[in-house]
């Protein structure tokens, strides 16, 4: 499939792609068990639950116990997915810290409803700090897919690879940005478009908007690369350094607090290794709270849509 064909595929929420992938892989990986905290209709773990009821555990609105129970199942040989909204599950940090990370338990934590992109429900339901929390745990791998294809491949990786992992998913539909023969490389940057003047690093629900911004910028004579970041941890340090040597400015874009998220991870690499001296500008939710509104209105307000990213890039170029 070409990029043009990819554009014609119906947009899909990455949570939906996760649910469908887990349903499919459940028949292949018989050690997979799934836990949810009364949100399976929203996290889409309901698809697995309907087909494999004996391997699905409804734990009620009790996320700490869900995480600990997942750890106990994992320490007994299971691959335990535990699912909730990103804010509710990552918010139980201490249980994840000891029962999952320190125990090297084979638990896959799924946090859906990432960022302001969830819309009307408002800040209390928005995961805006989860990447920072999960990134800070030793031994924890952290992922955020840009589209349905990538989400499914991360689920497959989780099913066949031991270790504590976290994946962050969107509530809202996102356009497909990959061709159908795309192969995820865990731990590597995913270059969607080359460019010489500036590199936009995007992750999750903002990736398609970054591609839109690239087109706009081309009209203004700015040749922007777009790099998708599906693996937030471990960060592809060599890949980031190479980009820092090639372009003068890197703009990171994410629907997450700029503190602790993907942009922080990129900035850490550039700050420590120098690269070629590129400046990093972190764009995202600037250390504030979300609010209610339509997903589109919120992406406009927080400048995460195409126009907002164009503005951020222009600002970054000017500041240089």
């Amino acid at each position: 499939m070409t990029q043009a064909q990819a554009d014609k595929v119906k947009p899909k929420a990455t949570r939906q792609a996760f649910g469908e992938a887990l349903l499919e892989l459940g028949g292949k990986y018989l050690d997979v068990v799934v836990l949810d905290a009364d949100l399976s209709k929203s996290t889409k773990s309901e698809l697995f639950a309907a087909k494999y009821p004996n391997r699905f555990f409804e734990m009620g609105i009790a996320e700490q116990n869900m995480i600990g129970t997942a750890a106990g199942l994992a320490l007994s040989g299971k691959t335990a997915f535990c699912c909730s909204f990103a804010c509710f599950v990552a918010g139980r940090l201490e249980t994840i810290r000891i029962s999952v990370a320190y125990s090297d338990a084979n638990v896959k934590i799924i946090g859906t409803h990432a960022g302001v992109g969830i819309g009307e429900d408002g800040y209390s339901q928005m995961g805006l700090e989860d990447l920072g929390l999960m990134r800070g745990l030793a031994g924890m791998q952290v992922f955020q897919p840009a589209d349905d294809i990538e989400a499914a491949q991360i689920v497959d990786y989780m099913c066949r690879t031991h270790g504590p992992m976290y994946m962050r998913l969107t509530r809202q539909n996102v356009p497909r940005v990959h061709a159908s023969d795309y192969k995820l490389q865990v731990g590597k940057l995913d270059v969607l478009a080359e460019g010489r003047d500036i590199a936009i690093f995007a992750t999750g629900g903002t990736v398609a908007h970054a591609l839109g911004a690239r087109e706009k910028l081309a009209g203004e004579g700015v040749d922007a690369a777009v790099v998708n970041v599906p693996t937030i941890k471990p960060m592809d340090a060599y890949g980031v350094q190479a980009w820092a040597a090639r372009v003068p400015v890197i703009v990171t874009v994410e629907d997450h607090n700029v503190i602790g998220g993907m942009g922080t991870a990129i900035a850490e690499v550039v700050a420590e290794h120098g690269g070629g001296g590129a400046r990093v500008r972190r764009h995202g939710i600037h250390d504030t709270f979300g609010e209610s509104g339509s997903p589109e209105a919120l992406y406009e307000k927080f400048e995460l849509d195409t126009a907002g990213i164009v503005k951020a890039v222009r600002g970054a170029i000017k500041k240089r």
Binding site: V33, N54, R55, F57, M59, G60, A62, Q64, N65, I67, G68, T69, A70, A71, G72, L73, A74, L75, S76, G77, K78, A80, E94, T95, R97, I98, S99, Y102, S103, D104
Partner: protein, 282 residues
């Protein structure tokens, strides 16, 4: 167990726990820090479990069909270390390395360090959920092994405990046995810090079978462990009334001895008392 055998078992436990108390005191004095009160309150329950109930093989700590034991009140780990050592999980010579750099005997239990440690605990409130997950796994795989978990009394002030209590009732986990080391003292008096009563009724309300015993009476302990074998669709809770610092008069019931190790001098006096109470000369 027949009555003569039971009498023998009780006598043997009484004898053994004297020396295990000495081991606890000496390893804590050597470490210079740690939690004597909750170790001494738990040692009788632990020894009876590992000597008479647990299906396990110290030479094969990863035997897939073993019964699991999780010390959720992780600060009481000196009691678990001496129990594991006396059963041959590792050499007694390791005991004086407690809490020292590079030792497998970490200050709180860490899975993957000393053989026989099944979970990372010490951040209170987490062990029951892990035990619950293990019990679900055994049911899912149609295995006979059981999961035993020891909780501290102060620990059950944690909300996660009650999340797990509800879930164990929901899933009818009769392969899960919780033991509450109810020594009445945390860093202060439990009843003053945050009262727990009516404790039996609370667990029963979540669908558990509950039995309350004297946690230093070996006959009652062994009876309770046998009682907990019942496969009746309910998780079991043994509320064991114990004494913090049991065996050492200057420690008994004293919050001060929750998290302070005895000096070498205090240890000497404590060891002498533990042995003389048992009718032995030190």
């Amino acid at each position: 167990m027949s009555q003569p055998n039971r009498d023998q078992a009780v006598a043997a436990l009484r004898e053994k726990c004297v020396e295990l108390r000495v081991d606890i005191l000496e390893m804590l004095a050597e470490a210079g820090s740690g939690h004597p009160g909750g170790s001494l309150s738990a040692i009788d329950l632990l020894t009876a479990l590992f000597d008479h109930k647990l299906r396990h093989d110290p030479k094969r700590p990863d035997w897939p069909d073993r019964d699991r034991f999780i010390l959720s009140k992780g600060h009481g780990v000196p009691a678990l270390y001496v129990t594991l050592a006396q059963r041959g999980y590792f050499d007694r010579a390791l005991l004086p390395t407690l809490r020292k750099l590079g030792s497998p005997l970490q200050g709180h239990p860490v899975r993957g360090t000393a053989p026989g440690i099944e979970a990372c605990t010490g951040s209170l409130g987490q062990g029951l959920s892990i035990a619950l997950g293990m019990a679900l796994a055994a049911k899912l795989d149609k295995k006979e092994w059981r999961v035993y978990v020891m909780l501290g009394d102060g620990e059950i002030q944690e909300g996660q405990i009650w999340e797990a209590a509800m879930a164990a009732g929901k899933y009818g986990l009769d392969n899960l046995v919780a033991i509450l080391d109810y020594n009445k003292v945390q860093t202060g008096v439990v009843a003053e810090v945050m009262p727990l009563e009516p404790i039996v009724e609370k667990w029963a309300a979540d669908g558990w079978s509950v039995r309350r015993i004297d946690g230093h009476d070996y006959g009652q302990i062994l009876d309770a462990y046998d009682w907990a074998d019942a496969r009746d669709g309910k998780p079991k809770m043994i509320v064991a009334d114990t004494i913090k610092g049991k065996g050492v008069s200057f420690m008994e019931g004293q919050a001060k001895w929750h998290g302070v190790a005895p000096t070498k001098e205090e240890c000497k006096a404590a060891v002498a008392e533990v042995r003389s109470r048992a009718g032995r000369s030190s």
